[in-house]
């Protein structure tokens, strides 16, 4: 197992280098730099040039790139041009918000997605199956930002049950934190439940047709017990795969939700950095997201071996 983990970690390095090179390439292609954020349209070319020099933006991009790789190898992601703090600090301050949002949404989506998908499979062809799949399809189709705004209007404005946005740290007030995360997490959950429910249903239908399931039923075991104990574990592999994909997708989905609910997470940080061309933050942020994505996939691969004893991690 550990040699597998080590090999996967080592093989991640070229991926991360590629991600950073592609990011630099994109930054090089897109015009503009932070000077345009500081100054208005009436700024003279001299004022722009002066500010670029003050901010260290007058170096050629390849020089900036080499400096960045030198720093990264010593564990330093550089300084944000706009935030006036280290990129690592800026990301770490915001990471708990994004990760907690994604984690809550993932756990809820997995629990309810598997539950609904299993119910749909067990009631295959019936009204329960049709209803659940319709709801799942709706969840898949609804845009995050629209759903978020609707939830704000209903639960914050009309009912006044929850805040419309903003963030309260868990260390400050657990109740406030829970309330500030409720609507954003729910928004993300709804749109992901559909994926897991559909995959669960499809996978369960395959398994429920197997001889060993029929045998278990014939032995007189309760059908619920058969589904939970025999069918679901055997259906988990594809569900696990799609969960891994969703986990990565949640980081992207969190960006939209963070904007709608004004949550100061990593997604909002990166979006703001892109719009203001804060290159160190773009580089550091995307690298961090790539690391998380690779780690999630590593965990998914390891869980295959846990769930299915036939799988050997070579």
């Amino acid at each position: 197992m550990w040699s597998f983990v080590l090999r996967r970690l080592i093989s991640s390095i070229p991926v991360l280098i590629l991600v950073s090179l592609m990011t630099f390439g994109l930054i090089w292609l897109v015009p503009g730099d932070p000077a345009s954020v500081f100054l208005d349209a009436s700024a003279t070319p001299e004022q722009v040039a002066n500010l670029r020099r003050e901010l260290g933006l007058d170096q050629p991009l390849w020089t900036q790139m080499l400096s960045w790789y030198e720093r990264v190898l010593s564990g330093d992601l550089g300084e944000s041009i706009l935030l006036n703090r280290s990129v690592a600090a800026a990301i770490l301050e915001r990471l708990p918000i994004t990760l907690s949002l994604a984690a809550i949404a993932l756990v809820l989506a997995v629990i309810f997605g598997i539950l609904l998908g299993s119910l749909a499979a067990v009631n295959h062809g019936g009204w329960g199956d049709q209803s659940i799949m319709t709801v799942a399809l709706l969840g898949l189709s609804i845009p995050d930002f629209w759903l978020g705004l609707v939830l704000i209007v209903v639960f914050a404005v009309q009912l006044g049950w929850l805040p419309s946005g903003g963030f309260v740290a868990i260390t400050e007030d657990f109740g406030g934190w829970a309330m500030s995360m409720a609507l954003p997490a729910f928004t993300l959950t709804i749109t992901q439940i559909g994926f897991i429910a559909r995959m669960t249903r499809s996978s369960m239908l395959d398994v429920l047709r197997q001889d060993y399931v029929r045998t278990a039923d014939a032995k007189g075991l309760g059908h619920g017990f058969v589904v939970m104990r025999h069918a679901l574990p055997n259906a988990m592999m594809p569900i696990l795969t799609v969960t891994g994909v969703i986990a990565g997708g949640l980081l992207g989905g969190a960006v939209v939700v963070e904007q709608v609910f004004a949550l100061p997470g990593v997604g909002r940080l990166i979006i703001g950095a892109i719009l203001s061309r804060d290159f160190p933050v773009i580089q550091g942020g995307l690298l961090m997201l790539a690391v998380i994505y690779l780690l999630v996939n590593l965990i998914v691969d390891m869980l295959y071996a846990v769930i299915d004893p036939r799988v050997r991690l070579a």
């Binding site: 897109v30 015009p31 503009g32 730099d33 932070p34 345009s36 954020v37 500081f38 100054l39 208005d40 349209a41 009436s42 700024a43 003279t44 070319p45 001299e46 004022q47 722009v48 002066n50 500010l51 003050e54 901010l55 706009l82 935030l83 006036n84 915001r94 930002f145 705004l149 704000i152 209007v153 914050a156 404005v157 006044g160 805040p163 419309s164 946005g165 903003g166 963030f167 904007q259 709608v260 609910f261 004004a262 100061p264 909002r268 940080l269 703001g272 719009l275 203001s276 061309r277």
Partner: protein
């Protein structure tokens, strides 16, 4: 009682500081204290007042920092941290007497060395350092006296010193010794810095040791008597318009810095809110690239100007909050001119076609760069459609602001560019002419505009300056240097809990009370 929509003439309005919010029963008076929450679209790129001219930064910085001179309610420069100034007969020497006993947020007091250091820092790294380009020296000539010597007469020097664009804020000398974005946020303003989360909020609290300017008895623009009745103000950065409005409706937010027209109309019908029409706030301007053909051709530019229907442009781009006016200043400016306004808003396709026939346009497709702000995209789209009617082919190139502004600052890749001109008409005639000097905005030097600018900034007589500005405006129209579509404004909305709020160039939080 139905909420009244208050018409505010921004640049010349008369504001009585004791004005009570409509609808509040006299028996329920506001308690002093409270945290006012303001929602604005963007985060400030910096809280270093010298290095940024972004509106989002001004909104915050002008609460923490003050300047020697500041703009009053009518946009005229008046003393703020200065007690006054003596100007030599030759117009080259300004001796500023400072107010004594002015406290900085760190407990120290302001002296001449702080002013000297701040002005010199601005000359070095200021975002609008050209404002002080006429200065040859700044000296401390007393504990509370600073002498500024100019290399040439500049009639607009006090205007420049009081410019709120990237304010020439006075900070402690030891802070002024630091580079851009390296300072601690210490000023003399009525609010002091508490916390800044760059993608979330900035919080300021009342500075209890603020030195009130007793030369005034009431709030007056960015100067005046800045008494603070609230405990703190929090600026939250919420990009999503629906989220901002929702925050107001849930009571989490007290003031929206800007809101879209339909939301403003809806909120105006609710007694809980007050809607302010902040009009005029800026110009909608369409620039030509004079370094490219055919926009380097006067006849072509005149054709474009003649074709456009400004009412159509402004009504679609800024519905319910615009004015059709061709003056290159706001109407309440002392220098407002009606010169050549017969060439404004011609909206005649036949006249346009005649100019076009005399021009060098040969059917090629022209590029209109525009940022993805809704009003600017709408303006560009309407111009594109209108020009298509006279046979001019225009392709829109929409991108975000950093991309567009980078292209727009070069002579290649564009023929048209539209955006707002906000702070310039507020500041006055020199600020309106300045963007066209040395060809900065149109990518080709225009000696006539340069001459007019030099004349205006060295002419001390106000009537003569007015004539020069009229000459500039006539030149702009006769040569179609650029096109002014009209004036537009902002809708701002507050809850009735916020009392005595009067809109200005920034959402001022001195003089207001929060009914808790």
């Amino acid at each position: 009682m139905k909420t009244r929509i208050l018409q505010i003439a921004l640049a010349g309005g008369l504001m009585a500081s004791g004005l009570m919010a409509a609808g509040l029963p006299a028996a329920v008076q506001a308690q002093d204290g409270g945290d006012v929450v303001i929602a604005q679209l963007q985060a400030p790129p910096s809280l270093d007042p010298h290095v940024t001219s972004a509106q989002a930064a001004r909104n915050v910085n002008l609460h923490m920092y003050e300047t020697l001179y500041a703009r009053d309610e009518n946009a005229a420069p008046v003393p703020d941290l200065a007690q006054g100034v003596e100007i030599s007969e030759d117009g080259l020497t300004y001796v500023f007497t400072l107010r004594e006993g002015v406290n900085f947020h760190d407990g120290s007091q302001m002296h001449a060395d702080d002013v000297v250091a701040s002005l010199n820092r601005y000359r070095e790294i200021g975002a609008s350092s050209t404002l002080l380009s006429a200065i040859s020296s700044v000296e401390e000539t007393g504990e509370y006296e600073v002498t500024v010597t100019l290399s040439e007469v500049q009639s607009t020097f006090l205007d420049n010193l009081s410019s709120p664009r990237a304010p020439i804020a006075i900070i402690p000398a030891e802070q002024a010794a630091l580079g851009a974005n390296e300072i601690e946020f210490i000023g003399t303003g009525p609010f002091r810095f508490v916390e800044f989360q760059p993608d979330s909020f900035v919080r300021l609290e009342r500075f209890d040791d603020y030195t009130l300017n007793t030369n005034y008895s009431e709030r007056d623009g960015l100067a005046g008597y800045k008494e603070v009745f609230i405990d703190s103000v929090t600026f939250r950065f919420i990009t999503e318009s629906g989220s901002r409005v929702a925050g107001l409706e849930t009571g989490e937010i007290h003031l929206l810095e800007t809101v879209d027209g339909p939301s403003a109309q809806r909120l105006a019908e609710d007694d809980q809110y007050v809607v302010y029409d902040v009009l005029p706030f800026a110009f909608q301007v369409i620039k030509f690239n004079h370094a490219q053909s055919p926009t380097d051709d006067v006849e072509f530019r005149r054709a474009v100007a003649a074709a456009l229907d400004m009412e159509e442009i402004m009504a679609i781009s800024h519905p319910d909050i615009y004015e059709i006016d061709g003056g290159w200043l706001f109407t309440n400016s002392a220098f407002y001119s009606d010169a050549a306004l017969d060439l404004y808003n011609i909206a005649d396709l036949e006249v346009a076609r005649q100019h076009l026939e005399n021009s060098s346009y040969d059917g090629e497709t022209l590029t209109f760069i525009v940022d993805n702000g809704r009003a600017n995209v709408d303006t560009a789209t309407i111009v594109q459609q209108r020009l298509a009617a006279i046979g001019v082919n225009v392709e829109l190139s929409v991108a975000d602001w950093p991309t567009v502004s980078q292209i727009g600052f070069t002579p290649d890749g564009w023929h048209f560019w539209t955006h707002g001109f906000g702070i310039e008409p507020f500041e006055g005639p020199a600020s309106v002419i300045a963007p066209w000097v040395d060809g900065v905005s149109m990518q080709a030097d225009d000696p006539e505009i340069n001459r007019l600018y030099n004349e205006l900034t060295t002419e001390m007589d106000a009537d003569a300056r007015a004539e020069i500005f009229a000459e500039f405006q006539a030149y702009m129209y006769e040569n179609a240097v650029a096109i002014k579509a009209g004036n537009y404004g902002l809708f701002q909305v507050s809850t009735t809990a916020l009392e005595n709020f009067v809109p200005f160039r920034i959402p001022r939080m001195w003089g207001v009370r929060l009914n808790q």
